[in-house]
């Protein structure tokens, strides 16, 4: 791993009716295996301190979060520098089990949308009723033409995760969707 790691679009931000900002380097570990299994719970709790999230939920503990991606996939969000060690620790805890651990930090781009109307901006791009999402929910969907995971990470904050290869496209999309004067006023 290089010492000169840079995020997809360092410092990119746009202030429209919501503020879109590239979140910088974030640690992300993809964990695949039976989410309901006892050994999975033991390993995740031991490594992160987070409980196993319920369907489409995110559990947080300190600076770590565990997101439910499907019944055989969890996404662990952590500090970028801590990700390799955490992945190694999970690998040890899960050795011998039918599970895989991968550090995918450098494969992803993360954007933060801040503002009461974050759902309105995203509603222009995603086939999702943002009125049904509560804080702590995660919804995997598409934003225009690319896959995205949207986590309602705070009362007026949404965190969007996409592939790094489409980071620039996503930033243009989000900026355009939050242009001042184009508020759809669906939810706020």
């Amino acid at each position: 791993m290089s010492d000169m790691a840079v995020s997809a679009l360092p410092g990119a931000s746009y202030a429209g009716f919501v503020t879109v900002a590239e979140a910088g380097l974030r640690g992300m570990i993809s964990l695949r295996g039976d989410v309901a299994a006892g050994w999975m719970t033991d390993a995740v709790v031991a490594a992160t301190g987070c409980a196993i999230p319920a369907q489409r939920r995110v559990e947080r503990a300190g600076d770590m979060a565990v997101a439910w991606m499907s019944y055989d996939e969890l996404l662990i969000l952590c500090d970028y520098a801590a990700a390799p060690a955490l992945a190694a620790k999970l690998g040890d805890l899960l050795s011998g089990q039918f599970a895989t651990v991968a550090n995918v930090s450098d494969a992803r781009a993360v954007f933060t949308l801040t503002g009461a109307q974050a759902g309105d901006a995203l509603a222009k791009l995603c086939p999702v009723d943002f009125g049904t999402l509560r804080e702590g929910d995660i919804r995997r969907t598409r934003a225009a033409q690319v896959a995205a995971a949207i986590w309602v990470s705070g009362p007026e904050e949404m965190t969007l995760v996409c592939f790094r290869s489409v980071g620039q496209y996503m930033f243009y999309l989000l900026s355009r969707a939050s242009a001042p004067g184009s508020e759809p006023k669906l939810y706020a």
Binding site: Q55, R56, S70, Y71, P127, R140, T141, R142
Partner: protein
Amino acid sequence: MLLLTCPCCGVTAEETEFAPGGEAHLKRFGPGSSDADYESYMFNRKNPRGVHFERWRHAYGCGKWFLAARCTMTLEVFGTYPAQTVEPPAEIVAAIKAKRPEWEGFA
């Protein structure tokens, strides 16, 4: 617009979040089968005007395959169920029978 509920992650979304996978409950005819059976398995598909069973994948969501029973004429969805099912489950058949009494059943 076709609205499907993914039985794997519980999300109800419209069809652009899913990828269609063609007819469900196909019986495979592989090596050793007759040419007619093999041809039928490879190429012949039902194309009903009404109740149809289909495979779908939640491509932009959880990524899982599942099966759906729907009406090709009205886009009404009778139900969705796990892909690990060899024939339509009883509750799906009952739901279809309730709304389409004239339906001749799964064959």
